[in-house]
Amino acid sequence: MKVMVDQDKCCGAGQCALIAPEVFDQRDDDGVVILLEAEPGADQHVAVREAAAVCPVGAIEVIEEA
């Protein structure tokens, strides 16, 4: 799995960092998303998919590898 985030789009809702804190964080000075792990391990996949699905601005893209 590969993860990409769009920091320009990000509205700082914090859902990703609440759901998958090992993969996503937020910048301290404005709440914008930080990607901690662009290729998260299998144990994170469910949480990452959920975080991407519920992002209010669709700023998280997940590419599932075959």
Binding site: K9, C11, G12, A13, G14, Q15, A17, L18, P21, D25, Q26, R27, D28, D29, D30, G31, V32, R49, E50, A53, V54, P56, V57
Partner: protein, 404 residues
């Protein structure tokens, strides 16, 4: 039924406190773009389907500002209420300026900060529950816990004294109530609130604290990348109001939903890991979430195959959209394990609720502490006797009588 044949009064009344009006499903099915009459008498267009509500809310061209001359007025006061007021226009509502404002304030609402507040919230919740228990059953969970907890938290974040909370509650109520107060009462309350916040900021300027408002002042004015004085005052007022009625009412509604069918409560007792998804499902199924979000169309759009002309005021019913069968499997069923739960309770897009991480954390902590301290909690009245607060832009229950 075509949109032109019938004009509904909006908000649509519902007989049951926790259940949606039957009209929602009908509208989603046959009249997704409906003409409605608002409390002001003005016409607007109501959207109830998930895709439509999300499309309009997430469209960066459209905002909450109803100050255009042809925009509908929401409330029955002459000036049309909060969304039409001069105050609503002080904060940038779109584009880069809005994003700049949002990021200045957003740093206070990150997941990390909210997680750091958890122990504080838990301690407040424990104390409030102890007080309620000391008062003896039945207690009112809304007045004892649901209302004071978010108020204490937001007062602390803003550095305003919680001792003034009765005044904040009144001001907040007058700003958010669409029908209950006269224009004079609303204006007097707004003026008093504005003066209070201006004085508070002057005090913070003289003696800064470690709170959100002190730090907004410390950033400097617009030339330093900060906000002007008026914008800081309105930001403070907005956050105080938003931090009041919304989560305060949601705590009571969530607990009522869980106790109305006690198997939901028991499932949580058996497996507290369900707390997070239960909170989301409660938000999704909140049938009494209030007015919905208005949007003024600066340009024409097409929604569900219908043409909406420029100048239309649209009301997005997130609560109706959250029960759309085309989006949610078994949409009417409370499923504590639903994931992902892409509900629209906090809106969508660049304007989705700034305080959503705070609200989520408060709801989760309240539930954790209640389950731990009062596992035997139950409603002290039949569900049918729960009553809605009328007229609020944010829906709530009058009281939530419980025993334990």
């Amino acid at each position: 039924m075509s949109a032109d044949e019938q004009v509904l009064s909006y908000p649509i009344p519902s007989d049951a406190a926790l259940d949606p009006p039957a009209e929602w499903a009908e509208l989603r099915g046959t009249c997704p773009v409906a003409h409605v009459t608002l409390p002001s008498g003005d016409r607007a267009t109501l959207l109830t389907r998930y895709e439509d509500v999300k499309q309009v809310l997430a469209d960066p061209r459209f905002t909450r500002l109803l100050t255009a001359p042809d925009a509908a007025r929401l409330s029955d006061t002459e000036d049309g209420g909060l969304f039409s007021s001069d105050m609503a226009a002080i904060l940038p509502d779109s584009g880069e300026e809005h994003q700049h404002w949002r990021r200045l304030v957003g740093k206070w609402f990150t997941a990390k900060r909210m997680n750091a507040l958890r122990p504080v919230m838990a301690r407040i919740a424990e104390d409030l529950i102890d007080d309620m228990v000391e008062g003896g059953a039945p207690g009112d969970l809304k007045a004892s816990l649901g209302f004071p907890l978010p108020v204490y938290v937001i007062c602390d974040m803003l550095g305003v004294p919680a001792a003034d909370r009765d005044r904040f509650s009144y001001w907040s109520d007058t700003l958010l109530n669409l029908t209950r107060y006269t224009k004079d009462e609303v204006e007097a309350a707004q003026a008093a609130f504005f003066q209070y916040m201006s004085d508070h900021l002057a005090a913070k300027r003289a003696e800064p604290g470690e709170d959100l408002l002190s730090e907004l002042i410390a950033v400097g004015g617009p030339e330093d990348g900060g906000l002007n004085d008026l914008q800081i005052v309105v930001t403070g007022m907005g956050l105080l109001v938003a931090g009041h009625e919304t989560t305060a009412n949601m705590i009571g509604k969530m607990v009522s939903m869980l106790l109305a069918d006690r198997s939901r409560w028991e499932a949580l007792l058996a497996d507290p890991k369900l707390i997070r998804t239960t909170v989301e499902e409660s938000l999704r199924l909140d049938a009494n979430s209030g007015f919905g979000l208005p949007r003024y169309l600066k340009e024409e759009i097409e929604v569900s195959g219908e043409h909406l002309p420029k100048g239309t005021t649209v009301i997005c019913s997130m609560a109706a959209a959250n029960r759309d069968e085309s989006m949610f499997e078994a949409a009417e069923v409370f499923d504590a394990t639903r994931s992902p739960n892409q509900h629209l309770a906090f809106g969508a897009g660049a304007h989705s609720c700034l305080g959503q991480a705070l609200a989520r954390t408060e709801l989760q902590v309240v539930l954790e502490v209640l389950l731990r301290k009062l596992p035997s909690l139950e409603l002290a009245v039949p569900v049918a006797e729960l009553e809605r607060v009328e007229g609020l832009a944010v829906g709530g229950l009058r009281t939530v009588p419980v025993r334990w």
